[in-house]
């Protein structure tokens, strides 16, 4: 312990004993922070206190001796303290690794959203921790079509992220085949089933949007259903669909669903991280989510998804338990597309 710390501490002790003022207690707290930042261990603080007391008055012998016992107890706190410190450097190293791996992962995700005339698209995807097990992808095809995939790998964090890289490679090689949604899921299922740990699986919603005719064809593999909002009825419908999650069983079959979007209608694709958000002690209900969507839906799609994320984050007091992804695809109110 440095001499300056001891001088400072003596001054604080003296000041407090003279005036008993809150100033000195406030100083003591700040001093505690300062000692911590200098990595002074708790037993050293105790020892210093015991020694400096002698300078302030006659310390009865038994009080002096009692500090020997307190120091002995605090040595173990000091050991814990030093062990935290070495773990902290290990943890910092892990976090640095994860930051790099997470940047590698980012390069696997699309950089920009599709820019389609007649469409307004918004997307937010935020990992619970540094690495995401949620996955999304956009691809362009001829004749004003694009495809969109949203997926959630079981669990989150590093293993899910490693699995995501493989999924991305698989989608890339299959992507060129321009398969209809149900076929795409069938193929992906066989890839996932063969290559990924048997206790992991992937839920996915895969769709192709025709921006000329505003037709959305999609298929679902065990994925949390999204929504279709119908302007004319001012109502939300579930985007459900049957089909086992990818990787559950070889040979799973998927069904294709077709929707026609009218001007102002929009689709909401999401992962269960949106709905499985703990608020107080219960999870948010889909009806509640719909009511939030309804309140915020009169803004551009990107603003909509941003606001919703902020709102849910606030409601759950900044605890995000799972990876969170939401995509909104809206047909413009005054359609510029041909019909």
């Amino acid at each position: 312990m440095g001499q300056d710390s001891e001088l400072m501490y003596t001054r604080i002790l003296r000041g407090y004993l003279e005036g008993k003022s809150e100033d000195q207690l406030y100083l003591a707290q700040q001093f505690g922070k300062w000692l911590l930042s200098k990595n002074i261990s708790p037993e050293e603080v105790i020892d210093m206190h015991g020694r400096l007391l002698e300078a302030l008055g006659d310390v009865p012998l038994y009080v002096r001796d009692s500090f020997q016992i307190l120091t002995e107890v605090m040595i173990e706190y000091g050991n814990a303290f030093r062990s935290f410190d070495s773990w902290r450097s290990r943890h910092q190293q892990l976090q640095a690794e994860i930051a790099v791996a997470s940047a590698m992962q980012q390069t696997l995700l699309p950089e920009r959203l599709p820019q389609c005339p007649g469409m307004d698209i918004g997307m937010v995807s935020i990992a619970a921790n540094e690495m995401s097990g949620d996955f999304y992808h956009f691809g362009y095809e001829e004749e004003g079509q694009f495809y969109v995939a949203i997926a959630d790998i079981t669990g989150k964090g590093i293993p899910a992220a490693m699995c995501m890289s493989m999924l991305r490679y698989a989608m890339d090689s299959l992507g060129e085949m321009k398969l209809p949604p149900a076929h795409m899921l069938r193929h992906l299922n066989s890839v996932v089933e063969r290559n990924i740990d048997p206790c992991m699986f992937v839920t996915m919603q895969y769709g192709r949007y025709d921006t000329v005719n505003h037709v959305f064809r999609y298929a679902t593999a065990g994925h949390e259903p999204g929504f279709l909002y119908r302007v004319r009825e001012d109502r939300f419908y579930d985007l459900d669909g049957r089909g086992a999650a990818l990787g559950i069983a070889a040979g799973s079959e998927y069904q294709e669903y077709v929707l026609q979007l009218e001007p102002g209608d929009f689709l909401v694709l999401l992962t269960d991280g949106v709905t499985e958000r703990k608020i107080d002690r219960s999870y948010i209900q889909r009806e509640e989510l719909i009511s939030y969507l309804q309140e915020e839906m009169h803004v551009p799609a990107q603003e909509l998804v941003n606001r919703l994320y902020q709102r849910l984050l606030l409601l759950s007091q900044f605890e995000q338990q799972d990876d969170y992804t939401m995509i909104v695809l809206r047909r413009d109110q005054v359609s510029k597309g041909g019909e």
């Binding site: 809150e22 100033d23 207690l25 406030y26 707290q29 505690g32 922070k33 911590l36 930042s37 902290r88 943890h91 910092q92 976090q95 984050l313 606030l314 007091q317 900044f318 995000q320």
Partner: protein, 140 residues
Amino acid sequence: MTGLHSHQINISSEADIVTARQIGRNMSKELGFGTIMQSRIATTISELARNIFLYAGDGFILLEGLVEESRVGLKISAVDQGGGIADIRKAMEDGFSTSGALGAGLPGVRRMMDEFTLESRPGQGTRVVVVKWLEGQEGR
């Protein structure tokens, strides 16, 4: 019992922080909190008041004694009209993992108190409200 009910202390200097601590300590003593909880409450007030002082320039601390049928507690609100917290999730992360900035911070305050709510909108300021309830064993 004097000085219970509530006190509002405007915060625009370090001296105001000390005043808020002092009032909070007295109120918690009167409510029956033990010495450690008194000190933790003072630390909480410091942290919240320092945030106002450092990041918003000025604002206030509101201290309210809560006396319910079955329990008593102290409620501390810290309110400012500053720029708000840009990245709330980051502010709620333990500083521990980063540069070595130890000490309480908002996560530390949250752990010392029983209830914690934070509202902040960029440009519209920040409001942190915490409550500490008196436990049976605390009253010494």
